[in-house]
């Protein structure tokens, strides 16, 4: 008697599940949205005009506890300009085998250039591939902007760091 009751209870569970929404999704065709503060793969952001926000200060590399970031910088000129100020990152590499996605780099960045994005689809087949260079990290040029390097009017970009606003979110 007791056994039947138990079976019935089990069947009920099974039956009730048949009407639940499935939790699995058809990845990779379907992708689950991430939370607002999800820390995925880094992106190097651009200004609306297409210039890179990164100024090559290497504070992200200094803050990185896993020593995953390597930055080298060089000087902008008005003929070959990557970022608004004097300095830009001529080399920017993140080793994703080392990265622990702690987000310290994001905190350290004085220009809000590096942001941990939504992308979690990281896979590589060699150690070399795990090192993402700047071209892979930069976001696409926004509409109306121009790709870098740009040639700009002399004397227009004189500030080393553009005036920043406090983040709103």
């Amino acid at each position: 008697m007791g056994a039947i009751k138990e079976i019935a209870r089990g069947m009920w569970t099974t039956l009730s599940m048949m009407f639940e929404k499935p939790v699995t999704i058809q990845y990779p065709e379907v992708k689950r949205p991430v939370h607002a503060r999800f820390k995925g793969r880094h992106e190097l952001h651009r200004y609306e005009n297409g210039l890179e926000k990164c100024i090559g200060c290497a504070l992200c590399a200094a803050a990185c506890p896993a020593d995953a970031i390597f930055v080298e910088s060089a000087e902008n000129t008005d003929e070959v300009r990557y970022s608004p100020g004097e300095r830009y990152a001529s080399t920017y590499e993140i080793n994703f085998l080392r990265c622990i996605f702690c987000g310290y780099c994001e905190d350290a960045c004085p220009t809000e250039a590096i942001v941990l994005g939504d992308n979690y689809e990281l896979s590589f087949t060699s150690r070399r591939e795990a090192i993402y260079p700047k071209e892979m990290l930069l976001t696409p040029v926004p509409e109306g902007g121009k790709p870098t390097p740009q040639t700009v009017e002399p004397g227009f970009f004189t500030r080393s760091i553009p005036v920043m606003q406090n983040p709103t979110d």
Partner: protein
């Protein structure tokens, strides 16, 4: 003995010599009084007001002259109403300094806030960020938030080139004047100055070229903010990302202690490279300074064209081979040549390299030749400066004699040290055919004709009547010469520096002998702060003499006579195209080099060596201080250190030699050369506390130069100090015949020449002049030429075209030919000059 003063700073007692400034006294007991404008190597000015402290002085009863006591018996101390600047205040007995009170803390906060009102806070992109005194002192003493309205900040130019080497960021400058004062006070090149006034003050240069000084790089070290940066390092790396390695500058015989900052670099395929050169403190050698050549010329070690493999001649071509093959090939050639071997090496090599070369050559009874234009290193080993010599100890009572040397061009830091000694009261006697910058500090100046160098010094001895060397007829013992002789005779200490202005081998040998005689006759040898110094053309030329290498009197003949020539770190053909035929005839030639030089192109075997930045070794400076350098970066694959190459060849040829490490070679040197007895690498790495303290966490105090943790080196005792006074021998100098219509061309040294160690540095290229010849206005007129004309210089069979310069300070009948600048003139020689092309106006 200076009077000692005891005072109290922040409740700690300290006793210091009278005249010490409060800021230095505090430093000595580990109390940091923050400063911006003060620098321990410069006169205090009290401009920045960062070092304000409370100062109390004991109350003295005017009637009795005794200190007034408190009830408890301690001296009564009265504090002034205003804060005082610790950097301008000399200590006084019983003084009480308070640097930690609320009043002082508030004052520091106030001053930092003022400074930051006009500072851009662009630390993320600033080269100084991370080693910036303003950053540090703001963190320590500043306020968290600025009350200054951002819109009211001055926005100024951020990229002002002060010449090609140094950049100015006007916004970052805090007007402390360290750079301006360094240029005016320390090196007497006031080519940067303040422009405008008040808040608008800026640093400006009006010299041509901009910031025209051999010492300009030092201003970037002592700048307490990122206002002055070098073009070489601009945005090169963040300071915390780099590692520091110790080295010795390989450019001149001063032997400045340096630090290379290194880091991986993407454009070098991830290799570790040198990012910048910084001074490393050695108060006995270079204090905390280095010259711009030392700072910027290291690039010669990193050329892409460096040799990558041993090469052996197969027909017309040099073909890469394995090291084993190359070494076997050379060893076989050695065995074949036997005593017909000539080893030719220069003072660019380390002691260890030169010792192994010499040992190898000796084993075969071969000849060795030092590749140089200057002689006298045997004499500097005998009567060189005594152990314990330090230019910093020279002052009143000391004499420095500088003969035949444009010291600032030949050895800038020695020039600086001699200048400072003269300012401390040392008598500087300059003997040179034409005025040089050294003359500014000379108490006595002697002018002689080119060719009379040795005779002029002999005339001094003659004037003392102690010995009576015969003088060439035309040299008179003038009043100046007699006066100088008398001064030298009566001096407590005498250091004589001889250079190679207008001299070749023969002339410099005679001059060295004459100077040695003068020191011997006046009893100025064999003790500290006395003796002879050669201003050698290369860093380790003294070491080469010590290792037993001697220049060949007739290099061409020596080359012609040899069956095998082993050339290391020398390019005779590149320097003198006239040697082409001779070298072409040499049956077997080995060249051990960094690059495929003109000589190497003719070689049968070319062996790739390592520069000093990629290996260990030691140099012996002109003051005979043996100093170690360390590997800074990884060696290029396939290249090997010179001592190891030579050692391997020696072993292969059946000669016992040390190859494993430079330290072990030094062991052999110490065992076989009495002067080097007791020298070993650990001893060379010993350090002592130095003053002023620089390079620690307190960057604001002495600048960003490095503390010396890797060795101050060991100064050798000359023979005279070991009780072996050499005998006097009197040099003879043949007169140079100058036919009618010819000019006497004399070689002189300029700092930035076309030598491989300068011309390969892109930054210095703009400062290297076009090949030129200088004559006096009268000669120019006689040649019907003007400054700027292209002239053809005929020298024996050769003819070279160079630009003509005119200088009224040059004697008539003479033409100055700078070395390594297009003209193959190594000793005074007669030349014909005619205009080839008029300058276009």
């Amino acid at each position: 003995m200076t009077k000692q003063i005891t005072l109290t700073i922040d409740e700690k007692q300290v006793t210091v010599p009278q005249g010490t400034l409060v800021v230095d006294a505090a430093k000595k007991i580990g109390i940091d009084i923050p400063v911006f404008c003060y620098h321990p190597k410069m006169e205090p000015v009290g401009m920045c007001r960062m070092c304000l402290v409370e100062v109390g002085r004991p109350v003295i009863d005017r009637t009795t002259g005794q200190a007034v006591l408190e009830a408890d018996g301690t001296p009564k101390v009265q504090f002034g109403p205003k804060l005082e600047t610790a950097c301008t205040l000399p200590v006084s007995e019983g003084m009480v300094v308070v640097g930690m009170s609320d009043k002082v803390k508030a004052a520091r906060k106030d001053v930092v806030e003022f400074l930051l009102t006009s500072h851009p806070l662009d630390c993320p992109v600033c080269d100084k960020g991370g080693e910036c005194p303003l950053q540090n002192l703001t963190m320590a003493h500043g306020v968290g938030e600025s009350r200054f309205n951002y819109d009211e900040k001055m926005h100024l130019a951020k990229h002002v080139p002060l010449g090609e080497l140094i950049f100015l960021d006007r916004e970052r400058c805090i007007q402390c004047g360290r750079c301006v004062r360094f240029q005016a006070e320390v090196v007497d090149d006031p080519v940067i100055g303040f422009y405008q006034r008040g808040r608008a003050i800026q640093i400006a240069t009006f010299s041509e070229p901009g910031f025209d000084s051999y010492f300009s790089g030092n201003t970037t070290d002592i700048c307490p903010v990122g206002a002055l940066t070098t073009a070489d390092f601009r945005f090169g790396a963040r300071p915390w990302e780099m590692r520091a390695t110790a080295s010795i500058c390989a450019q001149c015989p001063v032997g400045c202690n340096i630090t290379f900052n290194i880091r991986r670099e993407a454009k070098s395929d991830g290799e570790i490279v040198i990012k910048r050169t910084m001074p490393r403190q050695n108060e006995q050698v270079n204090e905390t300074w280095i010259c711009d050549k030392g700072r910027f010329a290291y690039h010669f070690t990193e050329g892409k064209e460096r040799l990558t493999a041993p090469l052996i001649r197969r027909g017309d071509d040099l073909t890469p081979v394995s090291w084993d093959e190359a070494i076997e090939f050379v060893a076989q050639a050695l065995r074949d040549a036997g005593s017909d071997l000539l080893t030719l090496a220069s003072g660019r090599l380390s002691n260890e390299d030169l010792f192994n070369l010499r040992s190898l050559s000796d084993a075969f009874n071969g000849k060795t030749a030092l590749y140089t234009h200057m002689a006298g290193g045997d004499l500097t080993a005998q009567v060189g400066v005594g152990q314990g010599t330090n230019f910093a100890d020279l002052g009143a009572g000391s004499v420095i004699l500088v003969v035949a040397s444009d010291l600032e061009e030949e050895a800038p830091i020695w020039w600086l040290r001699v200048k400072q000694a003269a300012e401390r009261g040392a008598t500087l006697i300059v003997a040179n055919p034409r005025p040089t910058k050294t003359d500014r500090y000379a108490s006595q100046k002697i002018r002689y004709a080119y060719g009379n160098e040795a005779a002029t010094v002999l005339a001094m001895i003659n004037a003392l009547s102690a010995k009576r060397p015969e003088l060439p007829g035309k040299v008179q013992a003038t009043a100046e010469i007699k006066n100088a002789a008398e001064t030298i005779k009566n001096a407590e200490n005498v250091i004589a520096l001889f250079g190679s202005e207008g001299l070749g081998l023969e002339g410099s040998a005679a001059l060295a002998q004459a100077c040695a005689n003068l020191l011997l006759v006046t009893n100025h040898t064999g003790r500290a702060n006395n003796g002879l110094i050669g201003v050698w053309p290369r860093a380790n030329e003294q070491g080469a003499w010590d290792m037993g290498l001697r220049p060949a009197a007739d290099l061409k003949a020596a080359l012609a006579a040899a069956k095998m020539v082993y050339v290391a770190a020398a390019d005779p053909l590149g320097d003198d195209p006239a040697l082409a035929a001779t070298l072409g005839e040499v049956p077997f030639m080995v060249v051990q080099e960094l690059y495929l030089t003109e000589t190497a192109k003719l070689a049968d075997v070319v062996l790739p060596a390592l520069p000093f930045t990629e290996r260990e070794g030691s140099f012996t400076s002109g003051e005979r201080r043996v100093q170690r350098f360390y590997p800074a970066v990884l060696p290029r694959p396939q290249a090997r250190p010179d001592y190891a190459i030579t050692g391997e060849i020696a072993r292969k040829a059946g000669v016992d030699a040390e190859t494993d490490s430079a330290a072990r070679v030094m062991g052999r040197i110490a065992a076989s050369l009495p002067d080097y007895a007791g020298i070993h690498y650990r001893r060379l790495a010993q350090v002592q506390e130095q003053w002023p303290i620089v390079g620690r966490g307190d960057l604001y105090y002495g600048g960003t130069g490095y503390e010396n943790k890797q060795g101050l080196g060991v100064q050798l005792a000359p023979a005279a100090q070991q009780g072996q006074a050499p005998a006097l021998t009197w040099p003879q100098v043949a007169e140079i015949a100058v036919p009618e219509g010819s000019l006497l061309a004399v070689p002189v040294t300029v700092l930035y020449d076309q030598g491989i160690t300068v011309s390969t540095s892109p930054l210095l290229q703009t400062r290297i002049p076009q090949p030129y010849l200088t004559v006096c206005p009268a000669e120019a007129q006689r040649l019907n030429a003007e400054a700027g004309d292209l002239v053809q210089v005929s020298l024996g069979e050769q003819a070279v075209k160079v630009t003509l310069r005119v200088d009224e300070n040059i004697p008539a009948g003479v033409a100055l030919a700078p070395r390594s600048l297009g003209l193959p003139i190594f000793a005074p020689a007669a030349i014909q000059v005619r205009v080839a092309q008029k300058a276009t106006v």
